[in-house]
Amino acid sequence: MFISGTSKIRKQAIYHQGTLAFEDTSVSLDDFLTAAYDHLSPEYPKFYKMDRLAKLGFLATEMLLRELPIKQYAPESVSLVLSNAHASLDTDVRYHEAAKTSSSPALFVYTLPNIVSGEICIRHKIKGENTFFVSSSFDAGLHEAYVNQVMQQPSVQACIAGWIDVMDSHHDVFLYLIEKEKRGLALPHTAEELTKLYR
């Protein structure tokens, strides 16, 4: 199994395979996310309703799969393994504040960290196993072990994995696509390689 591609979002800049693809540091994080959506032009209006965590995951996945489509795989053969440090705390805090004066069902539905997984699955028609870990920092060893275990299942052909974290304006996203067939970067899926790619 091999790492086919990567995407990262840090300091309001999006990277594809390590190369800068879009950047706008002159605006707020929310405006950056909207500008990045406009830049990628995916025509998916539901994006506007998502919270920051889901928007970051959506944009990073759009960038990751732009040149590495997964349409050749059956929906049930693609898995998703994500992790972060702040779970859904960024939205939890906003919901807590909003609930003091009014209720917002649209905000409430994002008060779980794995909602971002659902948004990615809906967008890319993924129906395979999905998991969301919460840890203090990106754990390359955990990802190597767990994703390899997932990929060893005969029914699984590909897996989108990585780190999607946001709290206030701080954000850190690193996603990668791992496949059984060699494609794209074709790097070995090891903790050492993941640590290098995450940097």
């Binding site: 209006p45 506007y48 309703k49 009014s102 209720s103 917002s104 649209a106």
Partner: protein
């Protein structure tokens, strides 16, 4: 009625985060759910909150929801019929 529908369109765009739309993109009779504007069940809950907060109007019978929220015009008619002066 025209002013109420114009206000509703702005409020719906704001409340439901329909930033890709402008008020003039929403027809008075255009279905809001399904093949129309494509709203979903969470949006329906937001519309209920919007009516309560902005117009002090409650949906007494949930089964009336699909009829009331069919379009901007049907919402405006419901507000007119149920809003206390």
């Amino acid at each position: 009625m025209e002013q109420l529908m114009a206000d509703l369109k702005k409020q719906i765009i704001e409340a439901l985060n329909l930033k890709h739309l402008k008020p003039e993109n929403i027809g008075d009779d255009q279905p809001l759910f399904g093949d129309g504007l494509g709203l979903d069940s969470i949006d329906a809950l937001e519309l209920i909150v919007l009516l309560q907060q902005n117009y002090k109007v409650k949906i007494e019978n949930p089964q009336d929801g699909p009829t009331i929220f069919h379009s901007v015009k049907s919402i405006a008619e419901y507000i007119r019929a149920n809003q206390t002066a």
